[in-house]
């Protein structure tokens, strides 16, 4: 297995708004991510962070540049292959949670398994229940998202992102809609996923406090990476204090 889970070179994304107007959201970004790293991405609004994350998650395609995920060259993939990678290798966590609103927490968590197929309903149920318990939502399985708080919804989304045992989690401002307490709970979960299960995490945030949970900080400005440095005094106390 390769040591680098992500290998990006000269990634460019240009949005064409019309024949004359186009936005260069990414102007040539290069980044390598080692397996098991926990990276936080920061930068001003409009600097291209979400654009970058969407390309990483195969939700969008770059205009040019090279993107290799876990040894797979993104440019050579069909739509179905991309869907399969989103399903099996990548877990998404969004700022707006993006849960199906009229579907119970349990079913939301099961959904990626359904698209994967080949798993019996009982197994699905068991795994989903286990994950919900892991994020502290045991007993809430049959609640619908609109009956849960923001923090709880985000934890459902985390459980959902984990159900296919992805190699990498992509979280675009996962705490952007949460209060401090919920944010910390969510970040504790991320930390333990990274430490104990070795899942690679890339997380976008505006808050330096949140970034301190990670090992490495990457800063975007105007579609370019302007800073890429390890975080020396990583926030460890909050996690090690709790046993998860």
């Amino acid at each position: 297995m390769e040591n680098n889970i992500i290998d990006i070179k000269d990634l460019v994304k240009i949005y064409r708004l019309s024949d004359e107007v186009s936005v260069r959201a990414l102007k040539g970004v290069s980044l390598t991510v080692r397996r098991g790293e926990f990276i936080s991405i920061m930068g001003a609004s409009g600097s291209g962070k979400s654009t970058f994350m969407n390309i990483l998650g195969f939700l969008d395609t770059p205009t040019s540049g090279k993107y290799i995920l876990d040894g797979i060259d993104g440019s050579s993939l069909s739509l179905n292959e991309k869907a399969e990678i989103r399903n099996k290798k990548i877990g998404f966590i969004f700022q707006g949670f993006n849960l199906l609103s009229r579907t119970s927490a349990l079913e939301n968590v099961e959904l990626p398994l359904m698209y994967k197929g080949g798993v019996s309903p009982q197994q699905m149920r068991e795994r989903a229940q286990k994950l919900l318990a892991m994020v502290g939502l045991a007993g809430r399985e049959h609640h619908h998202p609109n009956k849960l708080s923001g923090g709880e919804q985000q934890r459902v989304a985390i459980a959902r992102s984990l159900i296919n045992e992805p190699a990498i989690l992509l979280a675009d401002e996962p705490t952007g809609n949460l209060d401090t307490k919920s944010s910390n709970e969510v970040m504790d979960i991320f930390t333990s996923l990274n430490r104990e299960m070795g899942i690679t995490i890339i997380l976008v945030t505006h808050e330096p406090d949140i970034a301190e949970y990670s090992d490495r900080k990457v800063v975007f400005r105007d579609g370019l990476i302007i800073e890429d440095a390890p975080i020396s005094k990583r926030k460890k106390a909050a996690v090690t204090g709790k046993s998860r």
Binding site: F58, D60, A83, R86, F92, N98, P112, Y115
Partner: protein
């Protein structure tokens, strides 16, 4: 995703918008139920007509001639032909007053011989047919239909009673079984059947006959027999080859065909109208599915983000529209059968269960769901994940 889960997803999506879903199905329901009603009515009409015509007897034919009528010699000559099994003259007259005690009514007389009952397959409820002597002796005997029985006998036993027909006393010797009425409303039970000899001398004062009724030995020989009869009259009337007949031979099979053609045309026409309403129903489904896809763009984006493939999304929406249309189809079938049954019940037509029309209209509503659901479903499946996710 497997079909079972897709189906559950579809049913939930439909159940979320109960009102909208039922309104959408109304088009299909109306379309399918009208197909069922129309096809059913067509079938029943065909059978009803067949029943009416076969009271005439499938082996039978009638010969009539507008200008010059037939006489006793024709009967004698035709009876000698092998093909002719039964032959009866018909002397016919309408608006004939008939009186029993203080009751009276207008009826029709049929002057015939005993063969007539065989040809027309007419049974008696009570009493007897004519005897050979009664026919030759111009006996004043009559067999009455049930309407006459009801009206002037008040359903009392008529056998042996004397009625006055056009002021001539007749003895009632038989009562016909019920015949029913024609589509035209003509009541086949309002009849007075008497020997043709009696009818011609005592009622009509004419020696010739209005029509001849002939039966062939079996249904398969009807055409051939009709041709033999035709040739007989052409020779008798000295018609040169190529000249048109100056008489007409009407077989019941021929009439049956005409009736079947009419009802078939009617069925096709009505089914066409029903298909148009199914089409309109399909357009309704397409419309609502397009609304549904654009309302649920974000949901589609979420599903794509967690691994739904193009076909998963396509199937999800196709199954939804097919479920809408098939449930509409099933409801339409039930509704159509009820309406059909009700109509048939009041018309007293035979009820004919056509599994074919049920299966075909169900498959059709299924197909409508696929046909009109495909475009919206493809629209959903072809969304780019990121565009769908960002959709507000």
């Amino acid at each position: 995703m497997n079909v079972r889960n897709l189906f559950i997803t579809a049913v939930r999506a439909i159940a979320k918008n109960k009102m909208r879903s039922s309104l959408t199905s109304v088009g299909i329901i109306i379309g399918v139920s009208s197909v069922i009603v129309m096809v059913g009515m067509g079938n029943s009409a065909r059978v009803a007509v067949r029943d009416k015509i076969t009271t005439f007897g499938t082996n039978a034919m009638s010969v009539f001639r507008p200008s010059r009528a037939f006489d006793g010699r024709d009967i004698e000559n035709l009876r000698r032909i092998f093909h002719v099994k039964y032959i009866s003259p018909l002397i016919y007259d309408t608006y004939i007053p008939v009186v029993f005690q203080n009751r009276n009514m207008l009826s029709r007389i049929y002057g015939v011989n005993n063969d007539y009952f065989q040809i027309k397959d007419m049974a008696l409820q009570s009493g007897r047919y004519f005897s050979a002597e009664e026919v030759t002796a111009l006996a004043r005997v009559v067999i009455i239909g049930t309407t006459v029985w009801n009206e002037i006998f008040g359903n009392a036993d008529p056998i042996g009673r004397t009625v006055l027909i056009k002021s001539v006393p007749f003895q009632v010797i038989g009562l016909l079984a019920e015949q029913g009425s024609a589509f035209s409303g003509r009541d086949f039970d309002n009849v007075l059947v008497m020997p043709y000899t009696t009818a011609s001398t005592r009622i009509k004062n004419r020696k010739d006959f209005d029509e001849l009724y002939i039966a062939a030995h079996n249904e398969g020989m009807v055409e051939e027999t009709a041709e033999v009869v035709r040739q007989y009259f052409r020779r008798k009337h000295n018609l040169p080859p190529g000249a048109p007949d100056d008489f007409r031979v009407k077989t019941s099979i021929e009439q049956l065909k005409v009736a079947e053609n009419i009802s078939k045309t009617l069925t096709i026409l009505l089914a066409g109208i029903a298909l148009i309403s199914l089409f309109v129903g399909g357009v309704g489904i397409m419309n609502i599915m397009l609304v549904s896809v654009s309302e649920r763009t974000r949901e589609i984006g979420i599903r794509m983000a967690i691994g739904a493939k193009r076909n998963d999304i396509l199937l999800q929406f196709l199954i939804e529209s097919v479920t809408l249309s098939s449930v509409g189809g099933a409801v339409g079938i039930a509704l159509g059968m009820s309406i059909y049954y009700a109509i048939i019940y009041f018309l007293e037509w035979p009820f004919i269960m056509s599994f074919m029309s049920i299966i075909v209209s169900f498959l059709f509503s299924f197909a409508v769901g696929i046909f009109f659901g495909y475009y919206p479903a493809r629209k959903a499946a072809d969304l780019k994940p990121i565009d769908a996710l960002r959709y507000e």
